[in-house]
């Protein structure tokens, strides 16, 4: 086990991970039992649920909907705000003994500044932030900051000026020109890019004869989107030289290996944890076995090997 861990360790955007398996934002509850090391075998790092400056109620009505090999969600960033996070959740999160990233939703410039200031000044010290630039915001004409290279650059610049520690920027696949957005985030000082978030989808309620979600569209995740996410990882890794973390549909070690071959340094796993708690262990064991079979000494040697 120790030797397996050594093989899989990797440095990503200012964090040293024992394994390249990161739990994605918005899927892991602040349940002390689930942040115990025993329940996190194979996990290299964890992202918190999105934290906004003020508490948010989230969306009404149906919030999750099953789709073929995936699911749609329209949670709407329900969270108890950064103060609530610091007061109630942080201690639980620390219990994992693993690196973690506080997922910050990119709100207005002013809100995100205050949010980061509070995190920066947290008495216990927070190591890393994952900036989520995929939610629509008024400061950005109602679009997500991550849609255009210009607004993405602004968002990262704002966050970078408030946050000196490791800053991962989580891209949205809805960006028409994702490589350009990635480059913009890189040039403004992102330490790593997470590629990406959910894909814009929709469901219809046949009984109600209307869209299943109150906001009509919702975010698609799960194995269904893996081939799409892999393509974006390939494109983004070709555009930037900072580390990239693949995210979207990873549910087997083969998926993780594919993203790493495409150039990712690590992967995030979200929805697939809804079907199997044991996935981080299975995926890391599978990766270790693959490295051994391919005669590779460490995970770093696999990163981008599929581009050669």
């Amino acid at each position: 086990m120790n030797s397996l861990r050594a093989d899989l360790s990797i440095a990503v955007g200012g964090l040293n991970l024992e394994t390249p398996l990161v739990i994605a934002s918005g899927v892991w509850p602040y349940d002390p039992a689930l942040w115990s090391p025993e329940r996190l075998e194979g996990v290299g790092a964890l992202c918190t649920k999105a934290v906004s400056l003020q508490p948010r109620e989230g969306n009404r009505g149906v919030r999750v909907w099953e789709t073929p090999c995936g699911m749609l969600n329209s949670i709407g960033l329900q969270n108890s705000g950064v103060r609530g996070f610091l007061k109630n959740a942080l201690a639980v999160v620390r219990n994992s003994g693993r690196p973690f990233l506080v997922n910050i939703v990119m709100e207005s410039a002013q809100e995100v500044r205050e949010n980061l200031a509070l995190l920066r000044d947290a008495p216990e010290g927070i190591e890393a932030v994952e900036l989520n630039i995929s939610c629509p915001n008024a400061d950005c004409d109602g679009m997500a900051w991550g849609i255009s290279p210009e607004s993405a650059a602004r968002a990262v610049a704002i966050a970078r000026s408030e946050w000196k520690g490791p800053l991962w920027v989580k891209l949205t696949p809805q960006a028409p020109d994702l490589p350009a957005v990635a480059k913009a985030a890189e040039s403004e000082g992102a330490d790593a890019l997470v590629c990406g978030n959910t894909w814009l989808g929709m469901a219809m309620d046949l009984k109600g004869k209307r869209p299943a979600f109150q906001r009509v569209t919702a975010g698609l995740s799960g194995p269904a989107v893996f081939p799409l996410a892999l393509r974006t990882v390939w494109q983004v890794c070709g555009a930037v030289s900072i580390p990239v973390v693949g995210c979207g549909g990873v549910s087997r070690w083969e998926d993780a290996a594919a993203m790493i071959l495409a150039g990712a340094s690590a992967v995030e796993v979200g929805s697939a944890l809804f079907t199997d708690f044991d996935l981080p262990r299975k995926i890391t064991e599978g990766l270790a076995g693959y490295l051994a079979e391919e005669g590779l000494a460490d995970l770093a040697g696999l990163v981008g090997l599929g581009r050669k």
């Binding site: 509850p29 919030r63 999750v64 809804f274």
Partner: protein, 268 residues
Amino acid sequence: MNCGGGSPRDYAAAVLGHRPLGDGSGLLAVRCGEIASSAEPGQFVLIRPGTGNDPFLGRPLAVVDAAGDVFKMIYRVVGRGTALLAAKRQGDPVTVRGPIGRGFFSARGEKPLPRKVILAGGSVGAAPLLFAARRLGMSRIERTVMGVAGKGWEGFAEWLKEAFPGVDLYSDDGTAGTKGTVLSGLPDTLPGDTELWACGPQGMLRAIAAKYPRDGGRILAALESRMACGMGGCLGCVIPTVSGNRRVCVDGPVFTAEEVKWNELSSC
């Protein structure tokens, strides 16, 4: 000892028995000691109905009974997941996440048990009340009132009569038991030191809560909601309560009627 605390785990289990109850419903027995030994009435599991990742999510099914290393569930076919469950045979492997949630007993906190309990179940919602009845003991059950839609529910109604001897059975069209709804079988006022434990369609639960507006603290209702994770992570299953959004999966599924904002509940 369950070192993960109360949080659910995933188990690779096997179907031990499957008894069709007719009309697309049936009783599934699954061998899984960890769940059987720790589940309490009102708790449920997420059972994954297929192979691979389609269907993707586990289906929430209440634990209907548990003894030794075997627990039971009752399903009714409503879509593709439950249709796959209906095709399970003895020996088939199944993946279950559980036990999940706050059951009837836990929802009461430290309060001593009431002297009497009225059980009210609608359609398959009746199922977890069997488990509750077993744990409460017959002497504490004041009355058992169950309702089914009617035509197409004959098989399930037979099972209800077998599972709950002396049950007051109602159906919308009189096909099984008396014509009427569960509501018709409930007393006009809730006697003192009596609780009402209910499980069934949202409309029935809402009507029960409305019938006893001042006694919401003594009404325990097991709710349904669409779920993804069954571990409190996704926030997909929340319902509006007086203390804000609460997750049906881990904060419920059993809530007191006074907690729930019945009028803001959306259908699931």
